[in-house]
Symmetry: C2
Subunit: 449 residues, 2 copies
C-alpha cells in the first residue's frame, strides 16, 4: 500500500526533457551527443562535472540508457561511437545524415521541495534527438512564395562562388526552352541539373545555405517529382505553363515535405542545442564564412518566435531553452576558449537581440565534447598538443581568434587550425571533455532539483 | 458544346491500369520495365509487336510518358536506363532496390463498341510500379505468431548453407544470456548479429528466402528498434522478459511495418507481373535453386487469395491478372524458349492449381526484355551469339533446360549459361525484345478494345 502510494506520487512527478541537437554538416553533432551520454553514464565515476549541480551536490543516483518507446526512429549509435573512439586505432565516429534518437533515465534525489522527504528518488527521462541542421534551412521557404524565393536565389547566384557552379544548370534551361519536351520533362531535366549545382556548391565550395535542403538529402524522395523544381533565374523569362507547374511543385514541397517534418518532430522538443564549428568556418575563408553565417541565421529563424509569431501558431512550438554551442574548442588553447564563445555571441548579436525581445531564453557556450588535446606553453606562447591523422604528435600555436567578423586584412592572412585525431582508449572512462557540465546544467539542471 | 460533350464522354470512358512489377533480386525488373516502355513508345516505329492486338490492327495512335500525380514516389529512371544501354560502352542499367513508378498514356482507336463511331480515340493510363520482391516475403509473417515463425526459421537453420553463416549470431545469444545487459540492450546486440547473418546468406550463398525482409533493405528504419528482433532458435531457452520484448517487437513489425506497406501500395494494383530468372537459379546450384523456389512460393502467397481469403478481407486486394515471366530467355537458343516457360509452369504447379481453384487469372511467359543475343547453328547445334563483359564476341551452346526440378545427377553435371553484355546503340530504336508483345497483350490488351 505504502509502496503503491509511493509509486503513484513518483510517476506523477516524473519529468521528461526532449532535447534536440542540430548543427550544419560537420558541426560535431555525433561527438557532442556521444560526449554528453558518456559524461552522464559515468557521472559518479570521476566525471569532471563541477558545474552540473546534481552531480556536485552528490544527488545523482545513477543514469542509464533506457529503451525508447518510439520504435520507428533509428537509435543514436552511442556504442559504435565509443567503439570507434576507443578502437585501435582511435577514430572519430561516423557522422550521421539523418534522424536518430536515444533515451536516458537520470535517477536523482530531489532537494528543497516539501515532498522531498517522502521520496527517496525521482527519475528524469531525457530523450536526445539528433537531426541535420540542413533540414531547418527550408523553414524560411514557408514564408516566401515561389516568386520571392526565386528572386532571393537569383541574388545569391550573382556571387562568384555560386556562379562558377551554375553554368551547366543555366545551360540546361536554355536548351530545354528551345526543345519540344513537355513541361514535365523539361522541368525534371533542369531540376536534375539544379541538384548537381547544389551538390557542387556544397562539396567544392563548402557552402551550406542551399535550398531546398531535401535535394541534398533526399532519402525516400530521391527521384520523386516532389523534388522536381528549382528557383527561376531572373535572366530568363518563364513560359506560363512551366511557371504553373513550378509553382505547384514549390507549394507541394512547402505543404507536403516541410510542414510534416516540422509537425512530426520539431514541435515535440522542449530544449534545443545548436552546434557551430567556428574554427572550420574561419579556416574555410571569407566566402564560406559569410555563407555559413547566413545559413546559421536561416537555421535560427526556426527558434525566433515571439508569442504571436506564425511559427508558434503553426506548430505550437515551445522550445524553453536554446544552447548555442561553439564546438571543438580543444583545437585552441584554454586562454582562447572565452574568445571563441565571445565570437559566436558577436556573430549572433542581431538574432540574440530579437530573441531577448521575444523572450526566447538562450545562452552561448564553447565546448570540447571529446577533448583530444592537452594545453601547454612553449616560449611563453600557449599551445595545444595532440596527435594528427598520421598518428604523429603535434604541438601547435593556432591562429588567434578575431573578436568579430574578420576584416579583409585578417582574411588575407588566413586562419589555421589543426584538426587533431582522437587518441582515446578504454582506460580513459569517462572520455575527457571541456565545459559539457555547464551545458548540461543549462539544459537539464532546472529539472533536477 | 459538341467538344465539351465529347470531352465529358471521353473522360468517363478513360481507363486506368496499375501494373505492379516485381521479382527477387536480379530477376530483371529494370530491364523488363525499360523494355516495356521502349516498345510502347516506339510501337509505330517498327516495334515487333505482332501479338499485341492494338498495334497489329493499327489502332494505337500514340503512347507517351505523362506526369504521375503522385509526387512523393520516385520516378522510374527510364531515360537513364536507355542512356546506359545505348552508351559507349553499352551497359546494363543500374538495378534499383526501392519503389519507383512511371506513367504512360496510350491513345488508341476503340473497336467494336456501340459508341466507337462517336469517338476518334480513347486514352488508357498505364502506371507501372517497380518494387523489390523481397518486400513480399514478409507477407507470410502476418499469419504466423512469433513462436510459429521461430519454429519455422529454426528448421531452415538446420540446412548447411544457412548454418555455416549462423555461428556468430548463435554465439551472441550465448554471451548475451550470460551477460548483465538489460533485455533491450541484449536483444539489440543479438539483432545486429542476426542482420549480419541474413546479409551473409544473401551475399555469400545467394539465398533469397530471408525474413524479416526489411532487415536487408531497412531504408529509413536503419538502426530503429522496430528491427531489433529475430526468431528464437529452439536450442536455447528464452528468458521470459526477453520473450515478452521479442513478441512485442514482432507484433509491432507485423502491424506497423508489413501492414502499412500492403495497405498503401499493394492494394491499389490491378495487374501484377512476377519476374523469375530461372537460368541464374539453375546455375547457382541445388541449394540456391531450392531456396529460390521457396522464396518464390512465399512471394506468390501474396496473390493466392480466394473470395474469402484473409488477405482479400485485409487489403481488399483485387489483382485481376498475374503474369509469371521467366526472363533473360535470350541466353538460350529460341528452340529452348518454350522449355523455359514450361519449366516455370512445372515449378509452380501446386500454386497454379490452387490459383485455378481460387479463380486467380494467371499466365506463364518466357521473354527477353532486351535481347542481347542472336541465334545461330553450329554443326547442327543451336547456339546463341553476343558479346561478353570484356567486349569479346562469344558463341555458346548453353546447357539444355531440364523439364522439371533437376535430379541429383543433373545437379552434379551442373548448368552453364553465359550472362551476355548489352551491345546496343541509338541506331537500334526500338531495342530488340522477345515476346514482350504477348505479355503486353495479356496485361493490357483487354483494356484497349
Amino acid at each position: 500500500m505504502k509502496q503503491q502510494a509511493h509509486d503513484a506520487l513518483h510517476r506523477g512527478l516524473d519529468r521528461h526533457v526532449r532535447l534536440a541537437v542540430t548543427g550544419l554538416r560537420r558541426a560535431g553533432k555525433t561527438a557532442f551527443i556521444t560526449g554528453l551520454i558518456e559524461q552522464l553514464l559515468h557521472a559518479n565515476e570521476g566525471a569532471a562535472l563541477g558545474f552540473f549541480d546534481v552531480v556536485r551536490e552528490g544527488r545523482l543516483v545513477a543514469s542509464q540508457l533506457t529503451p525508447s518507446p518510439q520504435w520507428q526512429i533509428p537509435r543514436f549509435k552511442y556504442e559504435q561511437a565509443i567503439e570507434a573512439l576507443c578502437g585501435q586505432p582511435s577514430r572519430w565516429p561516423e557522422s550521421t545524415n539523418s534522424l536518430s534518437q536515444i533515451r536516458l533515465t537520470l535517477r536523482y534525489q530531489p532537494t528543497g521541495h516539501w515532498y522531498s522527504r517522502w521520496l527517496s528518488y525521482r527519475d528524469l527521462t531525457l530523450d536526445i534527438v539528433d537531426y541535420p541542421g540542413e533540414w531547418l534551412l527550408d523553414l524560411p521557404l514557408l514564408s516566401l512564395d515561389y516568386e520571392a524565393w526565386s528572386q532571393q536565389q537569383s541574388t545569391l547566384l550573382e556571387r562568384p562562388e555560386r556562379e562558377q557552379h551554375a553554368q551547366a544548370w543555366l545551360q540546361s534551361i536554355r536548351s530545354e526552352l528551345a526543345s519540344e519536351h513537355s513541361a514535365d520533362e523539361s522541368i525534371r531535366r533542369i531540376a536534375e541539373q539544379y541538384q548537381l549545382f547544389l551538390a557542387a556548391c556544397r562539396d567544392q565550395s563548402q557552402l551550406c545555405f542551399l535550398q531546398p535542403g531535401r535535394m541534398l538529402m533526399p532519402g525516400e524522395l530521391a527521384g520523386a517529382p516532389a523534388l522536381h523544381f528549382f528557383p527561376w533565374p531572373q535572366q530568363f523569362s518563364c513560359p506560363e505553363h512551366w511557371q504553373r507547374l513550378l509553382v505547384k511543385r514549390y507549394q507541394h514541397y512547402q505543404q507536403q515535405v516541410i510542414k510534416p517534418f516540422y509537425q512530426s518532430y520539431f514541435s515535440h522538443f522542449n530544449r534545443q542545442v545548436i552546434l557551430v564549428d567556428l574554427l572550420d568556418a574561419l579556416q574555410a575563408g571569407e566566402q564560406a564564412f559569410a555563407d555559413r553565417q547566413e545559413a546559421l541565421a536561416a537555421l535560427l529563424e526556426s527558434f525566433s518566435y515571439g508569442e504571436n509569431h506564425w511559427l508558434r501558431r503553426l506548430f505550437s512550438a515551445r522550445i524553453e531553452r536554446v544552447a548555442l554551442v561553439a564546438t571543438k574548442a580543444d583545437q585552441v588553447p584554454p586562454n582562447q576558449h572565452h574568445a571563441l564563445a565571445e565570437l559566436l555571441r558577436q556573430l549572433l548579436l542581431d538574432k540574440r537581440r530579437q530573441w531577448q525581445f521575444d523572450n526566447v531564453p538562450h545562452e552561448v557556450f564553447s565546448v570540447a565534447s571529446l577533448a583530444a588535446t592537452s594545453a601547454g606553453e612553449v616560449d611563453g606562447q600557449q599551445v595545444v598538443q595532440g596527435v594528427d591523422e598520421n598518428g604523429q604528435t603535434r604541438r601547435v600555436a593556432p591562429s588567434a581568434l578575431p573578436q568579430s567578423t574578420p576584416m579583409a586584412q585578417q582574411w588575407q592572412k588566413g586562419f589555421q587550425y589543426l584538426r587533431f585525431a582522437p587518441n582515446f582508449s578504454r582506460q580513459q572512462i569517462p572520455l575527457p571533455h571541456q565545459r559539457l557540465d555547464k551545458v548540461l546544467q543549462y539544459l537539464v539542471g532546472d529539472k533536477l532539483t
